[in-house]
């Protein structure tokens, strides 16, 4: 479903990962582990198509990835429903009710996103994944600021997504209680030797 071959990635002109390969099958979730600065975010951003790799190939990601990072892309002056409906229309879907159901947002539907708590915003940001209709979820620390109840909602949504033949690549440090492979990316850390000619910066 998603294949990554021999990837070398840089952040800020400094190579962080090299020789990384991974594959995702339908219905499979892969959890990324690694210490801070190991390159988890850089890897996820590359797979989402936000930054090109220095070398290597990413297959099956184009127009199939739903990406969620630290910022949820919410507008404070739009209501919960308007925020979701906007992303639904951008991704060419129309029904936002399942997303509201899955993250228990019905009670908040008419509130302005700016008045929500951090955890509620996060739930709304994750609900956006459901309205994209994309098969590959690429998630960067999805459970930040969620309470245990909301984490359970997220795990349930993820399980449903996998059961429908979707796939997920998740950087997280907590146990979501789902069947998932774990990939520790520490061994792929780039050495100083890879530094030569490495630059991802347009204007250094």
């Amino acid at each position: 479903m998603l294949r990554v071959d021999d990837l070398t990635l840089a952040r800020g002109g400094i190579p962080v990962l090299t020789g990384l390969s991974l594959a995702l099958a339908p219905g499979q979730a892969l959890i990324l582990r690694g210490p801070n600065g190991a390159g988890k975010t850089t890897l996820l951003r590359s797979i989402a198509g936000l930054q090109p790799p220095l070398s290597g190939r990413i297959e099956g990601a184009e127009d199939r990835v739903a990406y969620a990072a630290h910022a949820d892309g919410l507008k404070a002056m739009l209501t919960v429903t308007e925020n979701l409906a906007f992303w639904a229309r951008i991704f060419g879907t129309s029904d936002i009710t399942p997303a509201l159901d899955a993250f228990d947002l019905h009670g908040l539907a008419d509130r302005l996103a700016g008045t929500l708590s951090a955890g509620q915003k996060r739930r709304l940001g994750l609900a956006r994944l459901l309205v994209t209709g994309r098969p590959v979820w690429v998630l960067d620390e999805p459970t930040v600021s969620l309470d245990t109840g909301a984490v359970a909602l997220f795990a349930a949504a993820l399980r449903a997504h996998l059961a429908q033949g979707g796939a997920a690549l998740i950087a997280t440090h907590i146990d979501l209680g789902i069947e998932a492979q774990v990939l520790d990316i520490t061994p792929f850390r780039a050495s100083a030797a890879t530094r030569a000619g490495a630059s991802d910066e347009a204007f250094l």
């Binding site: 989402a48 936000l50 990072a69 002056m77 739009l78 951008i90 204007f203």
Partner: protein
């Protein structure tokens, strides 16, 4: 794309969206000119087209730094980049929304402010025409500037410095149309030049904006 346009217009009209800021700025600048120049009706009549064009241009500049910066801060730009929408199209739509909320009100307000500057009666029509044809270019070029400076802290001033030189051709030909119109002269040549500049930047600038934005977001 329509969803993006509607969202941008809605945001501009809600509290804190900044709708009307450019218009109010235009009004104040134009009102200040007679105070600074003095109550000489002939002199005001002479400089009215140029002052109105300069005021509209600066008012347009005022809201540019919000055009992409807000979407960058809350992560919307990253998510739009992964969306099926082409980035060039998304930026064109954002420039269109900027024009509808900033440029179009300026075009409509200009004749009223012309009265304050004793604009010659023949000039009203050509002032509105020149602004209507020229201000879309200001929004599209401004979008390019906003894409260049996205992610830079306090990029607003840098944005102005980058964008103002690019506004020069539009200003020259736009003000020329208004000036000739007010003087009862032939306006076809500068008007066609102005329209040509606008068409060219609308056609080409979104590609440049999208390219620099992709680099800026890495």
């Amino acid at each position: 794309m329509r969803a993006l346009l509607i969202r941008d217009l809605t945001l501009a009209l809600r509290a804190g969206g900044g709708f009307g800021l450019g218009l109010a700025f235009f009004l104040i600048v134009t009102v200040l000119v007679p105070f600074s120049v003095g109550p000489q009706a002939e002199l005001l009549q002479l400089i009215a087209p140029g002052v109105l064009w300069l005021g509209a241009l600066l008012a347009c500049l005022l809201s540019l730094d919000r055009l992409l910066a807000l979407d960058f801060e809350d992560g919307t730009l990253d998510l739009l980049l992964t969306a099926p929408l082409p980035l060039e199209g998304a930026l064109s739509v954002k420039a269109l929304a900027h024009w509808l909320t900033t440029g179009l009100p300026l075009v409509l307000a200009a004749p009223v402010l012309g009265v304050l500057l004793n604009l010659a009666p023949a000039g009203y029509l050509w002032l509105v025409v020149s602004l209507a044809v020229g201000t879309p270019a200001l929004s599209v070029i401004g979008c390019f500037g906003a894409a260049l400076t996205v992610g830079i802290k306090r990029g607003g001033l840098l944005l102005s410095l980058l964008v103002l030189p690019l506004y020069v051709p539009t200003l020259i030909f736009g003000a020329e149309v208004a000036r000739r119109g007010a003087g009862g002269q032939e306006v076809a040549t500068p008007l066609l030049m102005l329209a040509g500049i606008t068409c060219a930047v609308i056609a080409l600038m979104p590609f440049a904006s999208a390219a620099v934005l992709r680099m800026g977001l890495r």
